[in-house]
């Protein structure tokens, strides 16, 4: 099932990716190829196979509730493009009212 240009734009928006003009078609083709591959996998008979969310055969591994040292504020902010007064600074996220 080929992906429409609108769907590509929607997915790009959700991932906050900016697309150049013409890229919608390019990615629509690539992503459709992936979906077609999945469609082929769907044809397999998996009736007797339990759904798998994990390929590692480990279950129920829990961590004890013991605090460990955190990063310092300086370390935490070291890679931030912008910071102010100990906060990460990000552009204009203002909730609409």
């Amino acid at each position: 099932m080929p992906l429409s240009k609108d769907e590509v734009r929607h997915v790009a928006m959700l991932a906050r990716l900016g697309l150049e003009p013409g890229e919608e078609d390019f990615y629509a083709g690539q992503l459709s190829g992936i979906l077609e591959h999945i469609d082929r996998l769907q044809q397999l008979d998996t009736e007797d196979i339990p759904p798998t969310a994990q390929v590692v055969e480990i279950a129920s591994r829990l961590r004890e509730d013991e605090p460990r040292p955190c990063l310092s504020q300086e370390e935490a902010l070291a890679n931030a493009p912008a910071a102010v007064d100990g906060f990460f600074r990000v552009p204009s996220i203002q909730e609409e009212t």
Partner: protein, 467 residues
């Protein structure tokens, strides 16, 4: 015009009592810690890190599920809820989607059975501070990730509540249960319990659900109540004037006492959930679950009923005392050690609950016995109570040291009463002219001069002398 019926389902987020975050070892920060001081590579979402599930959070969630009479399925897992917003730097929140930790529970609130759809675990998000300049539209946001990754339980009810009162009482009962089982401190002011009601209305007698709105930014039980009342009224006016309710999230503004739309065009709900590949699924040990079930304390509703039937308390007294496990434990231990049940309940409701100052149960029993025997006045008992809390000395010692005693003998009080009457001609005249409250002024004067006076005897004596 046919009546409307209000229909409310509740989503309540509760921070379980843990020392570290949900998926990393960062300590859980207090509210006023400096920003970004409780963060690490994992909760900052740096590449190459792996989350690990906090056992204490799982345990608190199981206990909550059990207290809410939920089923705990054999398999549960975490999922990614994808959305791009700076409050979670990973670009997704780890939550639970189709296989939550627990399902199908029940919480009874004043006789109404509220079905619990699910209780699941997830992580909290960071905090955004919006700053900017309206004139120049130069907005920016500041991000503090101390809360990002803090464990949260989400408790979702079915739409079984029918009024703002019921929704508030449900939230209060939930808090009481969470505190009683030690799953959370559930302090609303600290954001440890956040209630988000889903509100819709429908014509009375119909079954189909109306379009709902979800209310956020609610910081107190009072705000919860008022936000729902406002929202019901808003929806009713809309529908009665030919409008329609739009399904959306609305924020409650405490200052303006209204709800407002928080819709954001860019924030269309499209979370593309998928199983969290970095976390193993959970197959919870049934023996562990049974251990936790066996260790659950008596639940508040049951304790409340027992306080009424066993000790003869009023429903109101029982509600206040059982709302706090420490109060209830203090009460029952003191009574077991000989404290008279009713005066002690009265004492706890009026003196202990409002101050939160708890005395050793044996000392409380000792003090209540003295009060019951009329050896000391209530004011003296209060002084002795708080002094005992402060110093750790026994009430008997304190009473003896201060020479506290109650005088119920009229002849001992008569001289003082007569002096008070002589010294306050105006109050006496007022009283004789029918101003009955003037008696209280005289009584207060008398008690200033003779704190040991039995107030009831003193009052009767004054009445007699005023003739």
């Amino acid at each position: 015009m046919a009546d409307w019926e209000t229909v409310i389902g509740m989503e309540v987020h509760v921070q379980p009592k843990t020392r570290s975050k949900m998926f990393c070892g960062c300590s859980v920060a207090d509210v006023n810690e400096p920003p970004n001081t409780h963060v690490c590579e994992i909760c900052l979402g740096l590449p190459g890190t792996l989350p690990a599930i906090n056992r204490a959070a799982v345990e608190a969630c199981i206990k909550t599920a059990l207290a809410l009479r939920c089923e705990i399925p054999r398999h549960t897992k975490f999922d990614r809820k994808n959305y791009m917003y700076p409050d979670l730097p990973k670009g997704y929140q780890i939550s639970q989607y189709d296989l939550p930790m627990s399902v199908n529970g029940l919480l009874e609130v004043d006789g109404r059975k509220v079905r619990i759809r699910r209780v699941h675990l997830e992580e909290d998000t960071g905090k955004l501070v919006h700053a900017g300049d309206k004139l120049h539209k130069a907005w920016e946001s500041y991000v503090d990730l101390n809360r990002a990754g803090v464990p949260l339980m989400e408790i979702v009810s079915e739409p079984d509540l029918r009024s703002a009162d019921e929704a508030r009482d449900y939230a209060i009962e939930l808090r009481t249960v969470l505190r009683a089982i030690g799953a959370s401190e559930a302090d609303m002011e600290k954001g440890q319990l956040r209630a988000e009601p889903n509100v819709s209305i429908r014509r009375a007698g119909t079954d189909a659900l109306g379009v709902k709105t979800e209310l956020k930014n609610i910081n107190s039980f009072r705000a919860l109540h008022r936000a729902i009342l406002y929202e019901v009224d808003r929806q009713q006016k809309l529908l009665e004037t030919g409008g329609t309710v739009v399904q959306e999230t609305r924020g409650w503004s405490e200052d303006e006492e209204r709800t407002f739309s928080q819709r954001s065009k860019e924030f269309a709900e499209d979370y593309r959930y998928f199983p969290e590949p970095d976390l193993p699924p959970l197959e919870l040990d049934r023996a562990w679950i049974e251990e936790l079930r066996a260790a659950l304390p008596e639940l508040p509703a049951i304790r409340r009923a027992r306080l009424v039937s066993q000790h003869g308390l009023t429903a109101g007294q029982a509600a206040i005392i059982s709302a706090d496990r420490d109060l209830a434990d203090l009460y029952e231990t003191a009574v077991m050690q000989g404290a008279p049940p009713l005066p002690t309940a009265n004492w706890i409701v009026n003196e202990v609950a409002p101050t939160g100052k708890l005395l050793d149960p044996a000392y409380l029993a000792e003090l209540m016995t003295m009060l019951q025997a009329k050896d000391i006045t209530r004011d003296q008992a209060r002084e002795a109570y708080f002094e005992s809390v402060e110093t750790g000395r026994t009430p008997a010692e304190i009473v003896a040291e201060h020479g506290y005693r109650q005088v119920s003998d009229e002849s001992e009080l008569r001289v003082i009463a007569e002096a008070v009457i002589d010294a306050n001609p105006k109050a006496v005249a007022d009283y004789r002219n029918g101003k009955t409250q003037a008696l209280n002024a005289l009584l207060n004067e008398l008690r200033k001069k003779a704190p040991q006076a039995n107030p009831k005897v003193a009052r009767e004596l004054l009445l007699k002398l005023l003739g």
